[in-house]
Amino acid sequence: MASTSMAAAKPQRKPRLVYPKLGIPFILLVLCFAAWGSAANLTDVLVSVFRSIFTMSNFQSALVQFAYYGAYFSLAIPAALINRRFGYKTGVLTGVGLAAVGGLLFIPASKALVFGFFLLALFVLAAGLSILETSANPFVIAMGPEDSATQRLNLAQSFNPVGANIGVLLGAVLILPHITSEAAKTIMSPAELRRSQESDLSLVLGPYLGIASVLLLIWLLILFRRMATPAEQSQEEEGVRSGALGRLWRNRHYRYGVAAQFFNVAAQVCTWTFTIQYAQDVVGVPRERSGWYLQASLILFLLARFLMTYLLGIFRPTKLLFLMGALGVVLCVVAMFSLNTIGLFAVVGISLSLSLMFPTIYGVALQGMGQDAKFGAAGLVMAILGGAIMPLVHGRVMDQVGAALAYAVPGVCLALVTCYALFDLLTNREGGELVSEGAHH
């Protein structure tokens, strides 16, 4: 999932971005941000590819996202423990190493021709990336002066959507156009079908081996480079303030914010996971061109982030969140009932409404939380579980009523996000600055 961050206040005097001699380690970590963006959005392409290769239902193919985001969710706490006990470098090395192993597991998986093996490989890959993300964010913050921490984190995170676009590009160029067509399979013998499966899975293998190779390279470069930063020791002092959980739970803005984040991530993953299927199943876009609509979605998401950052400086964030949520709902309805290119454009357009949601919900939910925000941030990050569960629901609905009407699922998710924005607008709350994503790592 491409995450976003909010702009920070400008310091009075421009501090250096990173400490001396940490320039290359910083670049390596930036590459990590791009790597997990690539891997995450390549899975969006994989869902449709596996549906074709293994001739499976949409529900079954959505297990790809369940494995991926389920691993992200499951490993969030262990990752924090690794960092706390062994330090960020160990965390980064563990994450990169595990992710590389996940990528390499695609080799035996493609030989075995078993879908479950691919799910295991994806789980391991995502588990590594989860540890990596948890470690890399605070590591980046610790790599330079405090004054430039947010700038540094923003810069590093800006490579995440770049990587996300590369991931989709890999799928659109290297995989989708070369997959054996279903029409061709109608006249194949069992032996020919098996050969076509092997051939198609080798296409899947290529990009993941590429990602694994890059991760392996990064792993080696980090391993041989001294990268410890003293800021790590300050983490030892951090702890959960007593009673934080209770205070957070009693705060409706936070409680509903976690739910809103769950549905936001769900809407995002559902929308992107099934864009290719919508293009193919509803509009009849040829397989080799269908990936470009997902690519367009991500580019729109990237560009809209800049626009939203500007608009967030003018309008109250929840007012903008309400408008964008409502727009998303309308676009989902258009996608459901315009079974043509207009519907497909609506699906692409949902990314516009999604672009501001993650950082806005993050900031609004933690507003005025003080020290509890550090603990509260974990709950918002773990709302990524929405990306694991709701695509399964979307897939099941799609199997029953088709690709178009199934966009009711992200539509409902976006409606709930809109309700959260409305709740914030209609309720009084104590002030406090909005909290930027990453500020509590």
Binding site: K21, E182, A184, G210, S213, L221, Q280, V282, G284, G402
Partner: protein
Amino acid sequence: MTHSRGRVGRRSPCLVAVVGVVVLSLGVTSCGGGGKKQVTAGLITKQETNPFFVTMRQVAEKTASDENVKLLTAAGTSDVDNQSQVAALEDMTKRGAKGILITPADSSAIVPAIEKARQAGVTVIALDTPTNPQSAVDALFATDNRKAGKLIGQYARAKAAGNQITPKIAMLDLAPGITSGQLRHDGFLEGFGIADGDPAIVGSVDTEGDQAKAEAGMGQLLKAHPDINIVYSINEPAAFGAAAAMKAAGKSNDDVILVSVDGGCHAIKDGIRSGEIDATAQQYPENMARKGVQALATAERGGSKPTGYLDTGVELIAGSSVPGVASKDEAFGVRNCWGK
């Protein structure tokens, strides 16, 4: 916040590791693409506007590119333009084509030109439409039209049973003496479990596969038999003609089971999706073209020469499935249809 001074680690192992990974990456990405000797082949279609033949040409060109085949293409000006096809056969033979794929506009009249090309050493494969006699070509790659008809016949029978209706069937045929039309007709009756002359068949009309003629013919049949509840149509234009006539007669989609053959995108999106057409047997011009080009390339490079008949596949596409008859859904139909 302070910092530790980073020290560049031992360079040798690092360098070795980097080189190793780069080599591994290159090894991964450089697989495939062995050099194949270029061969020349030709594709002659009936015409260039029908989406069926447009798809055939596009897939042939892509396959030719993948197989290092220099592909010459030509088409007639209409479905009955034999003369242009004769000229194209002669031209391609002169230009060095070692194999030619052809969709005959006139199954008999084209035979002398094909024989001349074969005497010059050219391998000829008929696509979609057989020659008369079929042995005039080396091989025929085409839809099993009888199977296509059988599939929609089985579907119509199961659906009629499910709806608990007494069948009153209208047959919208092609024209007398055309093999593909006769095979579809026979296949439908076989799938439905009846034979020509069965009292369930209340009327039939030759439509020549034309929408307007089908609409007019269906209108006449409805006047004579307003209780028609099953319609067999030779192709999708005929199906749309029948649907228009039924609408004009005040019949809704639910009143009649309408089945057809072809699987073009227009029929799937505007017929199956709306419920106007209940089911269609989808055929695959892409398989004809791909298999044709591959067969010619293989033969020219010393492999086995294509012979006999290759079934290029047919699938039943239904808006709603019926018990006991395997079918694909509308989404499959959209993904694999031809045209727009």
